[in-house]
Amino acid sequence: MAKALGEIIIDIEKCKGCSLCIDACPEEVLSLTNKINKKGYQYIVTVNSNCTGCANCALICPDAVITVYRKIEKSA
Amino acid sequence: MGEIKLMKGNEALAEAMIRAGCDAYFGYPITPQSEVLEYLSKDATQRTGMVVLQAESEVAAINMIYGAAACGRRVMTTSSSPGISLMQEGLSYIASAELPCVLTNVVRGGPGLGTIQPSQADYFQAVKGGGHGDYRLIVLAPSSVQEMVDFVRLSFDLAEKYRNPVMILADGAIGQMMEKVELFDQMPRKTEFPDWATTGKPKDKERRYITSLHIQPEKMEEINKHLQAKYKQIEKDEVRYEAFNLDDAEYILTGYGLGARICRKAMDILREKGYKVGLIRPITLFPFPKKVYKEVADKVKGILDVEMNSGQMVEDVKLSVCGKTRVEYYGRMGGMIPSPEEIVENFEKLFIKGEA
């Protein structure tokens, strides 16, 4: 069976912390930090490596701050 | 003494409108005056029964004003520069049909969509008649939140006295800032309406009609002559201004609205520096207080006109002094506000150091 390995890169200075991606992620990969960026917003970070690269977060992200990668790994 | 409150200029204007017994308000959202419609939407109708309606556009709003004013009601609208431009057609009709109404322009920087920051760039439009044809608005320029209140009542009185539209020419800063205001008591709404108003044909009188179309030029000239005579009368009787330190003044600062407030601080700084500076603040921009300028022109070395535009009122100041003294202009445009220090610096540059 093939397994999808995903990874995302977040442009934290453009993130406004709206958190829509957190709800959109089926794998609960994302969370809001306590830190704030230069614009004064708390931003999102990844908190685990469960990402499958489904890109739901990037689709819902209004500010296009998320870049998504996905690698299909064939398991034995 | 009336009720004292801390209020935003736009809200104070709206409160004054309710208390002045206004019958109807029609408006459309535009920054920086949207608070007027918002404030009235809260409970104006519950308080006095007045009509408050958000129109679909400024074009619609001014024509709603036309309709309601022609019924003899106390009506008012407010907007900001681009919206006021849209109202010009309606205003020309209203002026021609001699309908009393009050409108407020909370001016923002232009031209075009411009900016939402305070400006005085609509002086020409307001004072010289922004729509087509030979007409004038009575134009009042408040320089404090208190005057936003006081001028509402005054405007209704003037509008009804002369059957002419009155404009309160404020700016974004006066609309948005909060100051202490004393409010007048609630006035009753009118129950009797003028003879000319279209309230349904009276049984024993002629029916009335309101129009600005007079296809025969002879008739249209008559209307124009009548309007011009009215404007002359207004110029004779309704001039209002404020003046400070004219007695010993060697120089005059002049400006209106917010500009005049800033000039007052500049005058204080200049007086501390030892210059004998006075201040003239026109309150009515039409009718323009020509006489006071003419009188000081003989005594002073120069007048510095300060405006938040490219120099519009300065033309009226120059016409008033007829070349008898030097008139200079300093100002900022596009929503920028001159600081008192800037005015002082430019005053010294122009008049003291002589680098014109």
Partner: protein, 264 residues
């Protein structure tokens, strides 16, 4: 890579070009959106620019920005654009299209702009069958001027000029512009979409692409209405606002195609 970017912590080996699934479209300019957190305007800008990038038409399209929150659309959409007076976008777009019929032309308008002050221009452009795309953002409120009632505000919905909830007796009924415009013979395609869920984002993007394809075929006026949120003026979090779309807005503004061109 800039320090400002949170790099992948766990598996950087996945982040290679061949594994790229989604990145910001090149047609979207680097300027950060001025929109509030969670605002649907940003989402629509983003997907529309994706469509432009995918169709490879960034040099053949001219857009019109309205008055309203999206007045700054030209700061973000990396294509030639004009800014129009309040409500006049369809007239401006007509001017552009008539002198350059071989270019794609779109206007991007909010509900205040399109359905209040600009109703006349919108209806007449539609009725003339102007071969343009109108993207109509319906969030039931005036955003830029901070939360006044719009023509599309739902019955009972609170705004700063309907603080007791919209009273249809004195303030009129919410206006379904799409249904209103669809019957006009010059109109080719009318659809209503939303961007409050990932699946809806995909569909909305498809509809925008479809509309541009129709324009290419010269079929006439296309209107893509997108029901979206205004978290700031609805006084909600972005998540609550999207929930409100699901429960309230979509109950009145039904999603789906309202008119599609007849297949010849």
């Amino acid at each position: 890579m800039s320090n400002n970017i949170e790099t992948a912590k766990f598996r950087p080996e996945i982040c290679t070009d061949e594994n790229l699934v989604y990145r910001k479209p090149s047609t979207l300019l680097p300027e950060p959106f001025h929109y509030c957190p969670g605002c649907g305007h940003s989402t629509v800008h983003k997907i529309f620019m994706e469509v432009v990038e995918e169709m490879g038409i960034e040099n053949e399209i001219i857009g019109v920005a309205p008055v309203g929150c999206s007045v700054f659309a030209y700061h973000y959409m990396g294509v030639d654009m004009q800014q129009a007076a309040h409500g006049r976008a369809c007239a401006v777009a007509t001017g552009i299209k008539r002198v350059q019929p071989d270019k794609y032309v779109f206007s991007y308008q909010g509900d205040g702009d399109l359905a209040a002050i600009g109703t006349g221009e919108t209806i007449h452009a539609a009725n003339r069958g102007e071969n343009i795309l109108v993207i109509f953002i319906n969030n039931g409120i005036y955003g830029m001027t901070s939360g006044q009632m719009a023509p599309t505000t739902l019955e009972g919905m609170v705004s700063t000029t309907s603080p007791h909830g919209r009273d249809v007796k004195t303030q009129g009924y919410p206006l379904k512009m799409s249904e209103f415009i669809a019957p006009l013979p010059g109109v080719a395609y009318v659809t209503r979409q939303s961007v409050h869920k990932p699946a809806n984002v995909r569909k909305a993007k498809k509809a925008l692409r479809q509309a541009l394809e129709y324009q290419k075929q010269g079929l006439g006026f296309c209107l893509v209405e997108i029901v979206t949120n205004c978290p700031s003026n609805w006084r909600m979090t972005p998540a609550q606002a999207n929930q409100y779309i699901e429960e309230k807005m979509l109950a009145f503004y039904k999603l789906g195609d309202i008119k599609v061109p007849e297949v010849k």
